[in-house]
Amino acid sequence: MNTHVEVKQTAFDPSACLAEFVGRIGDEGAVVSFTGRARGHAKDGALIEALVLESYRGVTLASMRQIAADAHAKFPITASHVIHRTGRIAPEEAIVFVATASPHRRAAFEAADYLMDRLKTEAVFWKREEHASGSTWIEPTDADRSDAMRWSNSLS
């Protein structure tokens, strides 16, 4: 299985990840990437100073590897790339980068979409937003859970 899964302690550049990913695939016709970035403002408009992500030993990486393996089992993709930050993340910095390659456009899109839905709800991270008045733990939203449910009726 041609996948690269990594937890990063420091800031990373999504375009460098895309370059690395494209550099290790063949002549697949379709490459999809998703970059999740730390926002600078909460829904109520309050300034967010940082997003802090906590991981747990090998469990976090293992959960990401399982999700990548499931994506390869479920979709005809030939390669994937899953990078996730931990630690203190400034607004506009990347939190997560996912890329997929396939001969088929639809498979590449769906697998990237699936990877993100699973990462949002099942990857072993805990995150909180720090703002002037304290910090707020962020859990998956109802939308995140219903997005993830889209795939479950045909899970292998």
């Binding site: 030993r57 090998g58 959960s63 993100m116 709800t121 072993v124 805990w126 733990w137």
Partner: protein, 85 residues
């Protein structure tokens, strides 16, 4: 003779008592169910969230069911709902 075990508290569970708490446990160990009760009793601010049904136990880097056993020397942790991305 009783032994102790450190239980790591992940995510929001660390808000009340920090990132880990210590429990005395018997030499026979205890089940996950008993761990929840012992933590709730010794660290009462954690009792409501542990009773909510959404906390999972992780022993030696594996998420385990309620009847799994934990012994002195195991790496135990409590996970609130996870959220990546």
């Amino acid at each position: 003779m009783n032994k102790s075990i450190d239980v790591e508290l992940c995510g929001k569970l660390a808000d009340s008592y920090g990132g880990s708490v210590t429990l005395d446990i018997s030499q026979d160990g205890l089940s996950v169910r008993e761990l929840f009760a012992a933590v709730s009793s010794a660290y009462p601010l954690l009792a409501p969230v542990l009773a909510g049904g959404r906390i999972r136990a992780c022993v030696n880097e594996v998420i385990v069911p309620d009847d799994a056993m934990i012994h002195h020397g195991d790496a135990a942790a409590l996970f609130p709902p996870v959220s990546g991305g």
